[in-house]
Amino acid sequence: MLRIEGLTVEVEGKPILNGVDLEIPTGEVHAIMGPNGSGKSTLSYVLSGREGYEVTGGTARFNGQDILAMEPEERAAAGLFLAFQYPVELPGVGNATFMRTALNAQRKARGEAELDAMQFLKLARERMKALSMSDDMLKRGVNVGFSGGEKKRNEILQMALLKPALAILDETDSGLDIDALKIVAEGVSAMRGPGFSALVITHYQRLLDYIVPDRVHVLMDGRIVKSGGPELAKELEAQGYAAFQAAA
């Protein structure tokens, strides 16, 4: 599904990723944990195609395609999804219009029939119910006036509608209370299956109590310094990152 080899990335001439190797097979959920400044968000942005991140070496292949050469919208249509740490507010862009436009753009890129407004609403309402979101959130501007938890749920709603093959969740747990965290985790768990992989980026182990990963990787100073099973997250929680710092 996703294979990253020797990826090095600079931001404004400063190296942030120093040779990341990572493979996520189809159907698996992996977690990346690491302290602030370790390069977690850089990894998510460079994979989704944000400007300002210069790839200086290495490769990232998604289902065999060189995704680093693709436009952000092409990556999305190919099945990549990024749940933002800080979802952007878009005043004047209706949430429903936004999501329908996104879904239809992807369907169009894949040569599938577009959904009309009624078909989309039916689908959206169904998905929203599962995420305990009120219909009202469809009518508002994208993320405008949403609480932190509502913004994250809105990200998960988009994921549920767009049905990506690989979702990257960038600190989706930050700023969430335990109830919102559970809802988000349920949203991810509901997608788990043979056709869905996820990369869960988090600072804390808490989220991984609810989304139990197949593999956990520790990212320090722009490198994966250790990989293991779900128990690695617990180990980190107990020992802190300092122990790994020494090992690295």
């Binding site: 989704s48 195609g49 944000r50 400007e51 436009e71 952000p72 919208e73 990556r75 999305a76 249509a77 999804f81 990024l82 933002f84 979802p87 952007v88 878009l90 005043p91 004047g92 862009v93 936004f98 999501m99 436009t101 996104a102 879904l103 753009a105 992807q106 890129a109 501007g141 988009q158 767009l162």
Partner: protein
């Protein structure tokens, strides 16, 4: 004919000399005197140059250097009119009222061509316009042939009325200067939806005189959508009495040069004025909104929000003056103008100006200028929306925000359509 060879102010003055005995109302001494006096003002000042403070950012040289003829012959036959927004519409072709193209039956008030009704208009014509200080108003006074005259009696709800102005290209440069008079009696209400369309090398120089009496409410939506060969220079004078409201929303999207100049005076306690709009310019175009608001009575409110979108090598101007007189305590004034620059060659000049002589007032103003937000653009693209479409969504969002304040559904729909039409044209041009 030598007049045709003369350019700018001299050309218009020469034509006035030749036409003055044939203009509508030529046998009415009061009107002759008014026109003659306007000609003196226009002769003294000519077209404003950039040395005049109010015209610092807008260069009228292309108008001053051209030679415009009057549209002397009546255009006959079928015309492509913009789609109707209301059951009643007054249609003007080259500045002249066309009863045959208009739908005015069943109106409960006086509305029609000014040229046919000069006697009734005498008390209002020239009551607000200031040809002595605004040369374009002087030019209009000198040469107007017609215009829309609306006289709404006390307490009448006039509903919706449409004003359509079409310029028909005669194949040579031409000019027309309609004078529109709108008078609302106490407690009267009216929504006027105005569309300016047309093509050709043309100067469209309308002047409005709008008097809103006590407790009356006038909503004025304007869509200036002429083609990119046209100079549209409009000047609005409005006076709003106690408890009255004047709502102006202008979409300027089309002409080569647009000047949307509004002078409004709040003259009685509790009067309100809302001046909002969206102006857009593409490569080679210039849009200018210049407002001047007089708070001349206590407890009045004013709101202004203008949005500017500039593409290509274009220029936008916003000048907004709020003058709070000494008596105007408890004034509530707000002004905001925001510009979105879609190209590095676009330029916006923004000049808010507050003059406050009362001590118990609430007045605020703000201005923002920016390009499309990179984070917003990335967010949309990361969801699979192609770059061009994502940009279009953000521009639409920026513009639609301006229209949200419009409460009349018909008007809001028409304005939104005008905004979207401009953006679609940009997409085709790009």
């Amino acid at each position: 004919m030598t007049a045709a060879a003369q350019t700018g102010a001299a050309g218009f003055l020469a034509r006035f000399e030749g036409l003055k005995d044939h203009l509508p109302g030529a046998r009415r001494p009061w009107l002759n005197a008014m026109r003659a006096e306007a000609a003196v003002h226009f002769a003294a000042r000519g077209f404003p140059t950039r040395r005049v403070e109010q015209w610092k950012y807008t260069d009228l040289a292309p108008v001053a250097q051209a030679s415009f003829a009057e549209p002397l012959t009546m255009v006959q036959g079928a015309l492509a009119l913009p789609p109707a927004n209301a059951p009643h519409r007054a249609v003007f072709v080259d500045g002249r009222f066309r009863a045959d193209l208009s739908t005015m039956d069943g109106l409960a008030y006086r509305a029609g061509g000014l040229a046919q009704d000069l006697g009734a208009a005498e008390p209002f014509l020239g009551a607000l316009a200031k040809p002595e200080s605004e040369p374009l108003a002087a030019l209009n006074t000198m040469l107007f042939e017609d215009g829309l005259f609306i006289d709404l009696p006390e307490g009448v709800d006039g509903g919706l009325l449409e004003l359509v102005s079409v310029a028909v290209d005669p194949g040579r440069p031409f000019a027309f200067h309609p004078r529109h008079l709108v008078r609302l009696g106490a407690g009267a209400r009216l929504t006027l939806i105005e569309t300016a369309a047309g093509r050709g090398q043309c100067l469209h120089n309308p002047v409005f005189e709008i008097a809103v009496a006590e407790g009356a409410a006038f909503t004025h939506g304007r869509m200036l959508q002429e083609e990119a060969t046209i100079f549209h220079l409009s000047t609005i004078y409005a006076t709003i009495a106690a408890g009255g409201t004047y709502d102006n929303f202008t979409v300027a999207a089309g002409p080569r040069l647009t000047r949307n100049e509004i002078h409004a005076a709040l003259t009685g306690p509790g009067a309100a004025c809302h001046m909002n709009g969206a102006q857009m310019a593409a490569d080679g175009q210039h849009v200018d909104t210049t407002t001047s608001l007089d708070h001349a009575a206590p407890g009045c409110a004013s709101r202004q929000t203008y949005k500017t979108v500039l593409a290509g090598r274009s220029r936008g101007v916003f000048q907004g003056k709020i003058h709070v007189h000494r008596v105007a305590q408890k004034t509530d004034g707000y002004q905001m103008n925001q510009a979105l620059l879609l190209s590095e060659e676009a330029e916006i000049d923004s000049k808010p100006q507050l003059e406050i002589y009362a001590d118990d007032v609430k007045c605020s103003h703000g201005a923002t200028v920016g390009a499309l937000d990179a984070d917003s653009l990335f967010y949309l693209r990361s969801r699979g929306i192609p770059e061009a479409q994502a940009k279009a969504m953000l521009v639409e969002a920026f513009l639609h925000e301006a229209v949200e304040t419009v409460t009349d559904d018909t008007l809001r729909t028409a304005l939104t359509r005008a905004l979207d039409a401009w953006w679609v044209r940009q997409g085709r041009a790009a």
